[in-house]
């Protein structure tokens, strides 16, 4: 029996069956794979935090290699000694602070009465306390985010950047070594002691980044807006932690 595929009723039924079928396949798949995906995301955060602290599996000069997924949980637990959530003046310890959803906090903080929760991870490297702060902002196409490791004077010890969908070869280069390594040793305060952040600057007179106190690193050619996004998220998010770092002195 041939089916009349031109009939309206057939078209409607076909569309309904197709949507239900495809919908349930995809929902089932997403649900089934969720625990695996969640675990991967958790490991990734741990790897990124450790990377910002300079704990990685890099071999060559342009490698960005993380501690492997099967070891990262142990390394993370032994390196990160304390995790805090800062709410205004209150500082509470929370061993799962690194799982706090920054994006959600940003949205909640639009309400002026809301006291934003700021996560901070404290670890030790070479006997020195290091503080890692997650940052988040906008690139050209989509979100960009990262982790910045600071010492108690807010001098950058290392960074890690990542992005959701910056242009391959241009904006996506923010996660390359040649860009991230430039941040090491940079100061967040200017010479008069005011918070300045770090500007990703075009036409920088210091392309090899020898001056660490100029509050600037060299930009990536062709990735102006992504670079500006990095500048903005460093300024905006790290400024919120300044009061906390004052208490450390």
């Amino acid at each position: 029996m041939a089916i009349d595929t031109d009939k309206n009723s057939y078209t409607v039924i076909f569309a309904i069956v197709m949507v239900i079928l495809v919908g349930s396949i995809l929902a089932g798949l997403a649900q089934g794979l969720k625990p695996l995906v969640k675990a991967n995301e958790r490991f990734e955060k741990q790897q990124n935090i450790l990377y910002a602290m300079g704990i990685n599996a890099n071999e060559g000069p342009s490698d960005v290699e993380f501690i492997s997924t099967d070891k990262v949980e142990d390394v993370f637990n032994s390196t990160i000694t304390n995790q805090y959530i800062i709410e205004g003046d209150q500082v509470t310890e929370d061993p799962e602070a690194y799982l706090l959803d920054i994006k959600k906090e940003e949205a909640l903080a639009k309400d002026p009465n809301y006291v934003r929760k700021l996560p901070l991870f404290e670890g030790v490297k070479d006997g020195k306390p290091i503080y890692v702060i997650p940052i988040r902002g906008k690139g050209l196409w989509d979100a960009i985010w990262g982790f910045v490791a600071l010492d108690k004077d807010m001098v950058v010890q290392g960074v890690f950047f990542d992005h959701a969908g910056e242009t391959p070869g241009l904006g996506s280069e923010i996660k390359q070594r040649y860009f991230m390594d430039d941040f090491e040793g940079e100061h967040l305060f200017n010479e008069s002691g005011a918070f300045e952040g770090i500007t990703v600057a075009k036409g920088n007179a210091d392309p090899r980044n020898e001056r660490k106190t100029d509050n600037a690193v060299d930009a990536i050619a062709g990735a102006t807006i992504t670079g500006d996004g990095v500048t903005a998220m460093i300024k905006k998010d790290l400024r919120m932690y300044v009061p906390y770092f004052k208490t450390l002195k």
């Binding site: 089916i3 595929t5 031109d6 057939y10 078209t11 076909f14 569309a15 197709m18 949507v19 495809v22 396949i25 995809l26 798949l29 997403a30 794979l33 695996l36 995906v37 991967n40 490991f43 990734e44 342009s62 997924t69 196409w141 990542d162 992005h163 959701a164 969908g165 242009t167 391959p168 070869g169 241009l170 392309p207 090899r208 050619a221 062709g222």
Partner: protein, 214 residues
């Protein structure tokens, strides 16, 4: 014994040259511009498109007699989107770092008009085996151009291939740079992809006059 009949091998070989989806049919240009600044993403994109195109063509071909013609475009879109989401999810669960690397490319596959074009023009009218070959052929034709463009853009724009500094170090001024060579920063920007594709079209048409339209 031949692996494929003459007619079948034509399905693979034609899109590689004389009926190339990018240079002759001028489809799939947007993704060819977006991701060819480096060689590696170009290859990854080519492989992903081969998979989605081959499987999608077979699925559409199997359903060709029951798809209502009024909503066939929507059905095609659903098939591509479903395949792409499945690939994305499976990669996220089992090959997380790879999926991070591919990030936006997976999503970009949906927007590739070559896929919709082949569903519409071929799979709806042909059996699964022939559709499979047609899908592989067209995706290969697309991939070859992508890789050629990616090769030249990365080499001339950044002086690297797969991230390796094949021309020497531009900062330390070794290799070719010692002779005063400079990278052409314009090559990494999207307009140059269009120009490189244009040059390929020019070369191809001047070698085969039959391809020139009036």
């Amino acid at each position: 014994m031949r692996l494929l009949s003459k007619k079948d091998s034509k399905l693979i070989m034609d899109p590689l040259a004389d009926n190339n989806p990018i240079t002759i049919q001028v489809l799939g240009i947007c993704s060819a511009l977006a991701i060819t600044a480096q060689l590696k993403p170009s290859i990854v994109m080519a492989v992903s498109v081969i998979f989605v195109m081959a499987v999608g063509n077979v699925v559409i071909s199997l359903m060709r007699n029951i798809i209502p013609s009024k909503i066939r475009i929507i059905v095609q879109l659903v098939v591509v989107a479903t395949l792409v989401i499945i690939v994305d999810q499976v990669l996220k669960a089992y090959a997380y770092s790879l999926s991070k690397e591919l990030s936006v490319f997976i999503g970009l596959i949906i927007t590739n008009c070559i896929i919709m074009g082949r569903f519409e023009a071929f799979a709806l009218a042909n059996g699964p085996w022939r559709s499979f070959l047609d899908g592989v052929g067209n995706a290969l034709g697309y991939g070859v151009i992508l890789i050629i463009v990616g090769f030249f853009r990365e080499l001339l724009g950044s002086g690297t291939l797969f991230g390796f500094k094949v021309l020497g170090d531009p900062v330390e001024r070794t290799g070719l740079y010692a002779l005063g060579y400079e990278n052409n920063g314009f090559m990494v920007l999207p307009p140059m992809a269009l120009i490189v594709v244009g040059i390929i079209i020019w070369v191809q048409r001047s070698r085969n006059k039959e391809l020139i339209e009036d």
